[in-house]
Amino acid sequence: MYLMSKIKQVLLVLKPGVVTLKYPFEPHPVAKDFRGQPSWDHHKCVGCGGCAAHCPARTILIRDVCQDLRVMYYDGSRCTYCGRCADVCPEDAITMTEQYELATNDKNDIGVNMELFMLTCQRCGRCFNMETTNMIDKMGLRGFKYDNLETRAVISKLTTEQFDPKMLEESDRFKRPQK
């Protein structure tokens, strides 16, 4: 009786065979719609900063180093791979790849550094439309920029409703800081 049960057990085990995955020696495909490391397409990106504003872990950082250069840094170490950046991107520049083999001994290995070339408005010298009528919108737009304060003083006065020829002259005399 005991032997019979053992034989039965052996037969039961033999039926499925080896189930263990041979993973690190053989590649293992991921499931459909798996969200791995996000990848940026720098040809499509317009630099709106929507991904940085929506990231729950605030792992996408945006800095404006000068008037026409915006630097985006994705620090992958605290990314939760939620895919909100890909959802919110208006140009579909962000795609969630199937890359999950991200184990490293260095945190900088899973970062993406992107330099974006921004065109400035020829009227006001800014990247954004400053002709918004809503005051709250105006404040929101100005908060994203880190230029020098002198330019800001001239520009913010120029973009108000009243036109002042003296101001225009002052802005003509204003020389842009050289790179």
Binding site: T20, Y23, S39, C79, Y81, Y100, N105, M114, E115, R176
Partner: protein, 176 residues
């Protein structure tokens, strides 16, 4: 270099101590999943032990919270040399969504020195196996930093507009 050193330092089976420092249990479930027959980490001689005094490797999951910080430090100190520390999940590797909260130290590397990080929320069991295999020197590292640049000729817009004004006839007519 580090892989070779690891091979020399750990010639025998690694015993793993699993330390939850305020995780949501997602990473812990994935760690236990790795020990099941389907993924079977015991192929590499790994075994889960209950005490840090028996362990070679500490797996930290969760952003180290303020109450668990002294306990994590104690567990790390109780492990015999040489020791490896794995940060598993986004919380342990960088702090996750709680990286700047008042009650969180912001990642395992703020509490104890971390040798390897496995990001993911939670990481796939395959990703954990990949990290282990990376530490053992069985696979090559695939992650590398990415540098992207928009290749556009940096024309100074102000100079460009000035040149346009000078060349354009309409502006000349208007100015007269």
């Amino acid at each position: 270099m580090l892989a070779k050193l690891c091979k020399k330092a750990f010639p025998k089976s690694l015993w793993v101590y699993h330390c939850n420092s305020g995780a949501c249990n997602g990473c812990d479930i994935e760690i236990l999943n790795v020990l099941t027959p389907y993924y079977d980490i015991e192929r590499f001689g790994m075994k889960l032990v209950a005490s840090p005094r028996h362990a070679d490797v500490m797996l930290i999951s969760g952003a180290v919270t303020r109450p668990t910080l002294p306990l994590v430090k104690k567990a790390y100190a109780a492990m015999p040399e040489p020791k490896l520390v794995f940060g598993i999940g986004s919380c342990a590797s960088g702090g996750g969504s709680w990286f700047d909260c008042y009650h969180v130290t912001g990642g395992a590397d703020k509490a104890v020195p971390v040798n390897y990080i496995i990001p993911g929320c939670p990481p796939k069991p395959e990703a954990i196996i990949y990290g282990v295999a990376l530490a053992l020197g069985l696979v090559d590292k695939k992650a590398s930093p990415v540098e992207l640049k928009q290749v556009e000729f940096p024309i100074d817009t102000y100079l460009k507009n000035k040149a346009f004004e000078e060349r354009n006839v309409i502006y000349q007519v208007l100015n007269q």
